[in-house]
């Protein structure tokens, strides 16, 4: 009740100068929407990528070590550099990982032609029975052999591929290499340690028949049956294959490391973009400051009256700070409502998955944005409020 009259005076001042106050609030609206939307977008991006990646967190990826220069060792085998994983290296891996599943992968990329459309896609050659273990077909059947192929959903959408479609492969327009689509894969993102969304998956037999390099794998994935064994498996594999520490034969990684890198990248991206939002708040602060200074200079006479009949400096200050807070609340509230809308649209546009939109980790950016918006208002109201309170009552009474 005590501060009531000053809140009421502040409200009346806002109402009396509604347009001016709303324009100032608009700055806060924009600032809050900017930082909140960007925060929500970053959170949703991180959450959805993390979820995709951790579903494949039990995959160890082994690829040839390419840092040492090509053909240096010359002899192939377990030691020395090579662009591929050899058959003997594969056997070594199978030996050290024991019961865990080993998936040798042939891969390359090639020009593809579907009717009049030309593009590129990656080609993955896998054993038909492993395909059944790690991939999900939404339409059609799994690979049976011959020139049957599975295509990723993104690729299928881009080239309007259906079960039965034919894809011509190769740069030569007379090329006779082609596959027939037998199934469309479920969107996996990075499922099973393989990027299949834009890929054509064929049998290893068809792959080696058409692209050669039999027994020369581009990478080998090991799926750990127990996620806590990943470290041990990686160590054993490294010990067996990278005997020469100066000249390692293979690079071993898992999706956990990948996850960290991606989270860090998204994190710094988000904070950079949030800084842009902060700049809009600075602009808002300037406009609030301006409105408050105007409010003070328009009300000099009134301040003189209030002071002359016994209003303390601290009470005058309160009155103007309340005015700033009211403007801040209006702006922050409108900003919060708009942030839900713009955040949702941004998440649809950029992340493409709203499953995490209403989670606390994403929604927290709304109250956070509001608090920052209101704080901005209060801070920019401090100086005008002090100036109002410090006016000399006699001088102020004489104004107008």
């Amino acid at each position: 009740m005590a501060g009531d009259i000053f809140v009421s005076l502040a409200f009346r001042s806002v109402r009396l100068h509604l347009l001016r106050s709303l324009l100032a609030a608009l700055g806060i609206v924009i600032g809050v929407v900017a930082i909140t939307t960007l925060g929500i977008m970053g959170a949703n991006l991180t959450l959805s990528i993390t979820a995709q990646l951790s579903s494949s967190g039990n995959v160890i990826m082994i690829s040839p070590y390419s840092g040492g220069g090509r053909g240096f060792g010359g002899g192939g085998g377990a030691e020395g550099t090579n662009l591929n994983i050899t058959q003997s290296q594969l056997q070594e891996i199978e030996r050290v990982v024991g019961a865990n599943q080993v998936i040798p992968i042939y891969s390359s990329s090639d020009r593809i032609t579907v009717g009049p459309n030309v593009g590129r896609a990656s080609i993955l050659g896998l054993k038909p029975d492993t395909v059944q273990d790690i991939l999900v077909v939404t339409d059609g059947t799994f690979l049976k052999g011959g020139d049957g192929a599975l295509v990723g959903p993104t690729l299928a959408a881009d080239f309007s591929l259906k079960v039965g479609s034919r894809i011509k492969l190769g740069t030569d327009s007379n090329s006779t290499k082609s596959v027939r689509v037998v199934g469309i894969l479920q969107s996996a993102g990075f499922g099973g340690g393989l990027s299949t969304d834009r890929a054509i998956v064929v049998t290893d037999t068809w792959y080696t028949a058409n692209y050669g390099e039999s027994g020369q794998y581009q990478s080998v994935n090991v799926i750990a049956s127990d996620i806590s064994q990943i470290g041990t498996i990686e160590n054993n594999t490294a010990k067996a294959l990278n005997r020469n520490a100066k000249l390692p034969a293979v690079r071993i990684s898992d999706s956990g490391q990948f996850l960290n890198t991606i989270s860090t990248t998204i994190g710094s991206l988000t904070s950079f973009v949030t800084m842009l939002g902060a700049i809009s708040l600075v602009v808002a602060a300037v406009s609030i400051f301006n409105v408050m200074i105007m409010s003070v200079s328009e009300r000099v006479k009134e301040i003189g009256i209030l002071r002359s009949i016994g209003t303390r400096k601290s009470e005058i200050r309160k009155m103007f700070l309340y005015e700033a807070i009211i403007i801040g609340f209006i702006g922050a509230f409108i900003g919060a409502v708009l942030s839900i809308v713009s955040g949702y649209l941004t998440v649809i546009a950029i992340v493409g998955n709203t499953a995490y939109f209403f989670t606390p980790a994403s929604m927290i950016y709304i109250p956070q944005g509001m608090v920052i918006g209101i704080a901005t208002c209060v801070l920019s109201g401090v100086y005008p409020a002090w100036r109002a309170a410090d006016l000399d009552p006699i001088e102020a009474l004489r104004a107008e």
Binding site: M1, A2, D4, I5, L9, R12, S13, L16, K301, E302, G304, I305, L306, R307, S308, I309, G310, T311, R312, K313, E315, P393, I394, L397
Partner: protein
């Protein structure tokens, strides 16, 4: 309350330091005002009447000398103490009424009570006081801009009286009013003086000054 003067000015000098020269607005003024006095201050424009009233009204401090209100020295008071003095002990009535434009007549009168008691006033008290100064309930909910000068001055008087101050300071209270309304206002002030308020009033009008028991004339910052 002590038997001494309500207001006592001892050798009060007020100097305004201007760029070109120093303006001596009050020049060694000494004056005692007893409880229940009704004093008119007259003098030519620029003679220092408003400056004198501002010293008594705790709106300003003298350059030298001292003002005692109920025995308390205003030189010793800090800003909050001066402010509380204006709120509780002094009622100020201005030539230009000086109501708070954002508040209704009722709220203007209620405002000093909220300042002092930190709580809303009793409705009957405010309406009763407005009745005393001739403002009915229908007018009480208008804002100052919707009221005539005479009505505004009545409300300003009610506001000055609401915290039951010892002293009423009036700087040309009828200066912006026609003579009929002015007379009504003066009759009202005379009644409050009879009820025990000490009144100090600045005026240019000898007829208005006639309501006072004593007239002080001031010239070039000095009492004559």
């Amino acid at each position: 309350m002590s038997d001494g003067p309500v207001i006592s000015l001892a050798d009060v000098t007020k100097v305004y330091h201007m760029l070109a020269e120093d303006v001596v607005a009050l020049d060694h003024v000494s004056l005692d005002i007893a409880h229940g006095d009704f004093i008119a201050i007259m003098g030519p424009s620029g003679s220092g009447k408003s400056t004198l009233l501002n010293q008594i009204g705790c709106l300003d401090k003298p350059t030298s000398g001292d003002v005692l209100i109920n025995g308390r020295s205003i030189r010793q008071m800090n800003d909050n103490e001066l402010t509380d003095m204006r709120r509780d002990t002094i009622g100020y009535i201005f030539q230009t009424f000086n109501l708070i434009p954002l508040l209704t007549a009722y709220e203007n009168v209620e405002y000093p009570i909220i300042l002092r008691d930190k709580t809303r006033a009793e409705r009957e008290k405010i309406l009763g006081l407005l009745q005393t100064v001739g403002i009915d309930e229908a007018l009480a909910h208008h804002t100052p801009s919707e009221l005539s000068g005479g009505q505004q001055q009545r409300i300003a008087i009610a506001r000055a009286l609401v915290n039951n101050p010892d002293i009423l300071l009036c700087d040309e209270p009828t200066g912006n009013l026609d003579s009929k309304t002015g007379t009504q206002i003066m009759e009202m002030l005379r009644t409050f003086n009879e009820q025990g308020k000490t009144i100090i009033m600045v005026t240019h009008d000898t007829r208005i000054a006639g309501y006072a028991q004593r007239t002080i004339t001031i010239q070039d910052g000095r009492i004559r």
